[in-house]
Symmetry: C2
């Protein structure tokens, strides 16, 4: 049984005590005092990625004995002191031969040589090894035509690792080099910090697990899997318990069970005030001191709830994916890393120029995700403004810019510090900013096959041209109609730019099949019927897009209902109509076909690629042109005609 | 049954065709043509770290419907166009309330508002959401005192991910952001490249597995575990089969079984010519084309053997650990990564100054491992010259310098390119170059507890002072006796340097208990007896060490047998005596005690720390001094007396 639907009301509490980011962090760490949970012994195979819980002393020397580092003969250097090509020295052979694994029984006496293999133990009396290549057979012995420095080709016992030395220090993150050191002194297991076992539970009636069919008004639970993955990246064992509906009894049962059986509990969803305080009420009963922060002056991430109950962290992350991941990495992961015995994650930082103003709200620490491209004056940080509900922003962004609480905006041209998500600022081989088209996916697939990584930022045609003008991207895909000349794209180029011809794609008016205002009619008649009906709701496109220009031309000055719904993609327009939220809009034909919508052709648009005549990377651009030619079959299958 | 011990003889083949590194690589890749092995479907939890084998198209939109991004009321923006604080607009409430997971049934009509929770689907007719914080209860409805832009607080269907778009491209390495994208469109499993299953087999009579007791003349098999770890880091499944002795029958059986059951086979050891050609002969029978390179002009790594048999790579890595890991990373890992579908490992590179000449052999590509410190003119690359048998070099080094085949040396001051092992050049907080002492381990343990990472390079006192003079390190631990004044350390400081007092440690003459030349005698009598006996073999220390200075003073000009054995540590000296390879030498008392050796005191040495009066990082140096004070108990336990 679930409760009645939760929705906002003025009676509910708002966040009464919104803490600053730093105050929330301090309160959380103060109540938690995160520390490793305990020690376990792990065998060599399982050690990579683990953290040593104690210093490790070497129980033996490595190498364990003086050994030969080449194939040759163990000798006394003094015997060869006067050896030369003119006067080779004869040495008699010892009756003993030393292979790897053979303990020598006889000393090397003056005037003698003992054959020895690489890795073999140096016999007593010898103080050097002469390489076999530097000797000749000579009767019952060998002739040596050069002197050898004492100590040559010997690796001395303990010279690499000395018995008793601290081999590896507590807190070391184990990788392959550390495995080599442990194995070399015969250690086959080592004490490491136990991994925190963290329960992950999503809450909300609307959640459906991936792999299941999506109900109306429901969304997939992406937070559960991604929080689990992020926990594993931070040295924890994640136990993903799925989603629990907003039923007080079910929630309480699930939360209590998850809390009891694990070292930490991460919930997501259910903190937004409108979604009710069910979760928060359950947490308050788990243990002392309970909730230490609920509502943090962070964007994204305000609804974050941090609690410590009986020494365990309990966190409610915001339901929206970007908010959830930012708050996780900023405030939760550091505490969990300390519990796992891991050092803080050292985030790399680079400086980059902001091409546009970055606005922020005073009094709130804001994180803005950015994608980096190579500009004429260094790296350029393009905001990836996707909203906190987006899941693609993290994959498209290279890092984020922090706007401090006391700053209200960063003006264009600001050199901002970008905290990178990865270890390096890898600006892509080709930066493509402008209008997106499904056909571009095919071209980029071909380009990837040629080993060139491209990044697309879908800003619309105008945004792309502006970025190209500032040389902040390599290619601007555009489809802009010049109303004066009726020509596409070329009239919009700046001096020194050229067009790589792309393809033609049919734009048209989309409607649900059977709509009597459109079905069986021509474009003009259908449009007239739609505009005449106050119940007919349109869906528009974002400003700066070529489709918007086309639509505005079609509408004259009309502003029919729905005009202000301005999604940023063809697919969003089609989805809105297919789902009945709107009745008509404009998009390209393959998108209409994919969703089974009716289509009235409007314009055979030219989708081309603006570039500079003197590009930053001519080879990468040539590869793009070749990939474009390769993509003919995919483009034809989409109904696009190559220009 | 094992064969008779293998040892070098002039009758054996030398490497007949030593190929250049590039020729060996070309021959190997040409015969192998490495490509992914096949596709498997993996569930979300198992996907991180895997590589997509196909493009993934989004089966649904994300978000799947237009949804509210705040708690508030779905409204028509036109209704609020003229709303202001002076003239709030009244909207009547719709009878419907939209929570997450609730599909709206009623449209928003002019003049009305529908309560909606964050994430709730926008009802038909509404084109914006007004935040609950910006409204007041007003009779049976709400009052709104500000205008709202159309589209406000709505996340449009498909605006993040549009149905049909290429969500993730073939070849993508999956991390948490990609998990979020897959989950958000309901995908719970994805096709990834199958991981190559690689068998790892060590060969050699001398090998003992870690965890087992070490026989005389035997060494631990460190290559097996470390190659397994490196394989896993490069996207392979490693199957470590242990070690097989040098018995032709056993070797053939083991190699054939490992080859048959896996996608690739990596052997280590057994390629050095002196160790015989057993392994190579077995490989020749495995399949065509067989061995493509045996002997490569690489240092370290010459004995490398590369083969391709029936389409599978078969590699014999050199037995010495550093050689094995360099050749693995340079020539083997790239092919295995291609088989795993992984992109080449992008190694980061930095420029650093060489403080000393780096010599190389013409005609051979040489890799020199280096540790980085911060110098006055940027990073300094100190060679970590440990020999190819060392296992600690990889852990101490930050990367390597490549000396091309046609260069015979790089002079001091060269700005060389360093290929980093890790993602970043992390020069440590404190660079300590000079003499090593077991007491220093205790101090560094305390320092690590204060959060400061230090790097020690054990070059001996003189090398440390030279590095300090060039300001390439922060601290030089020294114990140098000035024979003229009888004073320690202070006479050696340059102007502007000072000493941090360390501790006193007793140096003495070491011997096996019961040795009649020493037991029960005083130092002078013992030394006289040892020098008088031509059978008494000493073990010396490396030049530049303080102990060597002390010993040379004790010996006058004498050069007794063993004088040229010059290991670099106290422990190596003690081990040599304990194992009977030498009879006497000099080391500090705790080392003698640890190995149960006799000890005749020679000098109460002062081990101090030379630093600049104007250090690079005063805070880190202060932390070092504090850690030194903290270490009093550990130092006392070692028998050291704080100065």
């Amino acid at each position: 049984m679930t409760d009645a639907p939760r929705a906002p009301s003025h009676a509910q509490d708002q966040f009464l005590n919104v803490l600053s980011r730093d105050a929330a962090e301090a309160a959380f760490l103060d109540a938690l005092r995160p520390a490793p949970l305990g020690v376990q012994e792990i065998g060599l195979d399982g050690l990579p990625g683990r953290v040593l819980a104690r210093d490790i002393a070497a129980p033996v020397d490595a190498p364990p004995f003086d050994r030969a580092t080449v194939d040759g003969f163990a000798i006394r250097a003094a015997d060869l002191f006067e050896a030369s090509a003119a006067r080779p020295v004869h040495l008699r052979l010892s009756p003993e031969t030393i292979a790897c694994g053979t303990a020598p029984m006889l000393p090397v006496t003056p005037g003698s040589a003992t054959p020895i293999a690489t890795g073999g133990p140096i016999p007593r009396g010898a103080d050097a090894v002469v390489m076999i290549e530097h000797t000749e057979p000579d009767g019952d012995g060998i002739a040596v035509a050069r002197a050898v420095a004492p100590g040559s080709h010997i690796s001395f016992a303990g010279s690499d690792i000395a018995r008793g030395q601290t081999l590896l220090r507590k807190g070391t993150l184990i990788g392959a080099p550390e495995i080599a050191m442990l194995a070399a002194v015969g250690i086959d297991r080592a004490p490491v910090w136990r991994r925190p076992r963290v329960a992950v539970l999503s809450t909300g009636d609307e959640l459906v697990q991936p792999g299941q069919p999506l109900r109306p008004a429901a969304v997939y639970d992406s937070n559960g899997p991604v929080i689990s993955a992020a926990l594993r990246e931070n040295g924890c064992e994640a136990v993903h318990l799925g989603a629990v509906p907003d039923d007080p009894q079910a929630l309480e049962t699930a939360v209590r069970a998850a809390f009891a059986g694990h070292d930490a509990l991460i919930l997501s969803g259910g903190t937004s005030k409108g979604a009710g305080d069910l979760t928060v009420r359950v947490i308050e009963g788990l243990g002392a001191p309970g909730i230490v922060a609920h509502g943090v002056a962070l964007k994204p991430g305000k609804p974050l709830c941090l609690a410590v109950c009986d020494g365990k962290p309990v966190v409610v992350l915001p339901g929206f994916p970007t908010s959830a991941m930012f708050t996780f990495h900023d405030l939760v992961a550091p505490a969990l890393r300390a519990m796992a015995g891991l050092p803080p994650r050292g985030a790399a930082r680079v400086e980059a120029i902001l091409p546009l103003r970055l606005s922020s709200e005073l009094g709130r620490t804001e994180f803005a995700m950015v994608a980096l491209t190579e500009g004429p004056d260094g790296l350029v940080a393009h905001p990836v403004a996707k909203g906190s509900g987006a899941v693609t922003a993290f994959a498209q962004a290279d890092g984020f810019v922090t706007v401090p609480a006391l700053v209200d905006s960063l003006p264009p041209g600001t050199r901002a510090e970008v905290t990178l998500f990865g270890p390096r600022a890898d600006a892509p081989g080709l930066a493509i900013i402008g209008s997106h088209c499904v056909g571009l996916d095919a071209v980029l697939g071909r380009l990837a096959g040629r080993g060139i990584r491209a990044r697309i930022l879908a800003t619309g045609s105008q945004g792309g041209l502006a970025a190209l003008r500032r040389r902040e991207c390599d290619i601007a895909p555009i489809h802009l109609l010049d109303p004066e000349t009726g020509a596409y794209n070329a009239p919009f180029l700046a001096e020194g730019m050229r067009l790589i011809p792309g393809w033609r794609r049919m734009q048209g008016l989309l409607f649900r099949p059977g709509d009597p205002r459109c079905e069986g009619r021509g474009l003009d008649a259908a449009l007239a019927a739609l505009l005449a009906d106050p119940e007919a709701i349109m869906v528009n496109r974002n400003q700066g897009s070529g489709t918007r220009v086309l639509l505005d031309g079609l509408l004259g000055g009309a502003r029919p209902p729905g005009y202000w719904n301005q999604p940023a993609s063809h697919n969003a327009v089609a989805a809105s109509i297919a789902q009945g939220r709107a009745d008509w809009g404009m998009a390209i034909r393959p998108v209409a076909a994919a969703m089974g919508l009716g289509f009235l052709p409007v314009a055979d648009e030219h989708y081309d690629f603006a570039v500079w005549q003197d590009p930053r990377d001519p080879a990468a651009l040539a590869a793009f042109e070749a990939a474009l030619a390769d993509s003919a079959p995919e483009l034809a299958a989409l109904g696009f005609v190559r220009a």
